[in-house]
Symmetry: C2
Subunit: 356 residues, 2 copies
């Protein structure tokens, strides 16, 4: 290490009291709009317009700016832009986890629709049991996104208030809350449950076994199924619950345990296709035929649900449509337009295949 590596080693003897040799907070080399403007021989406003409303520049001016921007490799600081304009071109997506999330199609659709318009997605992962929802949402509000999309996470009353107070357009998805924070795009989980119940009734099933996740959404579906069955004289289903998403292993082990304990179901309802997949697998190993001996129903219509053996009967939710609707809401709001119908029911589809 050299004893003296350049710069001003002895600032102590600087003359007088320089009123403001300002502290350099940013990296020294940082390229700013002023530098670009100077290099192009225009004002900063012109460079700003070049990026935000190029149509208002004379062609020749735009070309000149373009050239300098390319040559210098200037990338506008969106932080500063956002602070100045209070439009950050960010939307926040709050989901429980990354892993085999049923919500990935929604996030993907949001990102895809918004990327063209220069928007980015900030992720808020709350954990399977929503332990960290409040913290994540606070941190997100601090970033002042142009919109917040909640999917899967169920905010506490306190958090809901903070969201409302923030004034940030908020969209709850994958559900139809009784009292929306702001806007909502989803479907009724209870209605899904009822549809499954009706399907079971049509098939004449009577000994129903439900493998379910623990959240409020899965609970609503369970409730729909059970209500429909009980109201029609079918005995109340047996239930196994798991925290978080029902996995392949969960489905397999739940079925194994139930059978080993003497259960003889004629219908197995799983709260995810993963669980149903595991159930199918366990049944096959035991030589129990599907659907001859027992029907198996899933939820989600994952990519290969139709390619399983036998193909899986399940409920399909169009996560992409949910995402697209959510961004439509956001874009409207961004344009200052008022959204009339603040709740959209995208429905669902019971896809009957060979498994039940």
């Amino acid at each position: 290490m050299p004893p003296c590596s350049g710069g001003h080693p002895h600032p102590a003897h600087s003359l007088k009291k320089q009123p403001s040799k300002p502290t350099i907070a940013s990296r020294p080399g940082e390229l700013t709009i002023d530098l670009v403007a100077a290099a192009a021989g225009v004002s900063t406003a012109t460079v700003s317009r070049f990026f935000n409303s190029p149509e208002r520049l004379r062609k020749s001016t735009a070309a000149r700016v373009q050239e300098v921007v390319n040559r210098l490799g200037y990338v506008p600081n969106l932080l500063a832009g956002g602070l100045s304009s209070s439009r950050t071109r960010m939307v926040a997506a709050v989901i429980p986890t990354m892993s085999n999330s049923i919500f990935s199609s929604t996030i993907q659709a949001i990102s895809d629709t918004l990327a063209d318009q220069g928007y980015s997605v900030v992720l808020g992962l709350t954990g399977a049991n929503d332990q960290h929802t409040e913290r994540q949402i606070l941190s997100i509000i601090g970033r002042r996104p142009d919109g917040i999309i909640l999917t899967g996470a169920v905010p506490s009353a306190n958090t809901r208030m903070k969201l409302k107070a923030s004034g940030i357009p908020t969209i709850e998805t994958w559900d139809l809350p009784q009292d929306p924070i702001d806007m909502a795009v989803g479907f009724s989980h209870e209605a899904v449950g009822r549809a499954i119940g009706e399907h079971i009734l049509r098939g004449g099933g009577r000994r129903v076994f439900i493998v379910s996740a623990g959240g409020v959404r899965a609970l609503a579906r369970r409730y729909g199924v059970t209500k429909m069955l009980v109201e029609n004289g079918v005995p109340e289903p047996a239930i196994a619950t798991f925290p978080g998403i029902t996995t392949f292993g969960d489905g397999r082990r739940a079925v194994a345990a139930h059978l080993d304990a003497g259960g003889r179901p004629d219908v197995i309802v799983c709260s995810s296709d993963w669980g149903a997949h595991g159930a199918l697998d366990e049944l096959r190993r035991r030589g129990i035929r599907v659907p001859a001996d027992v029907a198996v129903l899933g939820f989600g219509d994952i990519a290969f649900a139709g390619e399983l053996d036998p193909p899986l009967t399940t409920v399909k939710i169009d996560g992409q449509v949910i995402g697209e609707n959510a961004t439509k809401f956001l874009m409207k709001r961004a344009r200052g337009q008022n959204v009339r119908h603040r709740v959209v029911d995208v429905g669902f589809e019971l896809i009957v295949r060979a498994s039940g």
Copy 2:
């Protein structure tokens, strides 16, 4: 609607020329640090310190600020904070897609490790074929994150330059680039291929069929396998390639087509466990025994690889460890420390199960 709802309904008759009744860019109700400071009877700096270095405040002062913050529901504007401090407390994660991505464990780990420290993750989805990598990365650079983590995406030479020029710490993951942009955490795909090749040699396989994705990583693995086999007198494998991730359906159909075309492999190597899963399924339908008639190998060790029938032999990468190492790098850099070994090989593990 009341005809006149307060405020200054007739600003036209304001006296003289107010030098600057500044335009209100932000929402009128926006709560700022100054308002909080005033309400607490302290200076803005004190409120700032309350959030960023509370230990430097007298307990009683902190309590007073705390009370006001709670009562008013103040959430600091991280945009302004980031602009001022040039630390945004954001890290960007660039990945191809959300859906059944092998990288989700890495992103999850990054988010989990960083959430405590107030960091958020911005997502850059580039598409399966990296069409939009450049645009996404530019938009990300504009947000001045404290770090950029590249996983799966393979930036063009041009984009690599922009990343370098940006001065933002950048970590390439899930690979060991010959010429890293900055830092890297990953493993050698070619080495994985060689390990698979060795495993095949040990098992005596000679008619190998490879179902592979199209990207450069999968290509490297394929190359490793092929080289190892050919160097040891095994005929060059047959190959079927698919763009993007190899899915369940891809695996199933590739195997079906290969068999229908007269292929009689004794080893099937898939570039994802999904593909291997599909292959297993197709083989079972055709009454071909695994591993007696043909061995099946996967890649990724997805959650239920060990629960398939038969359990799947595959290569396990610890995506979580990759994510943790990446954030370690970033945190070191954030503290201004220099990172000594800028490339970490996390290795991989060949997990031999019953399928081959």
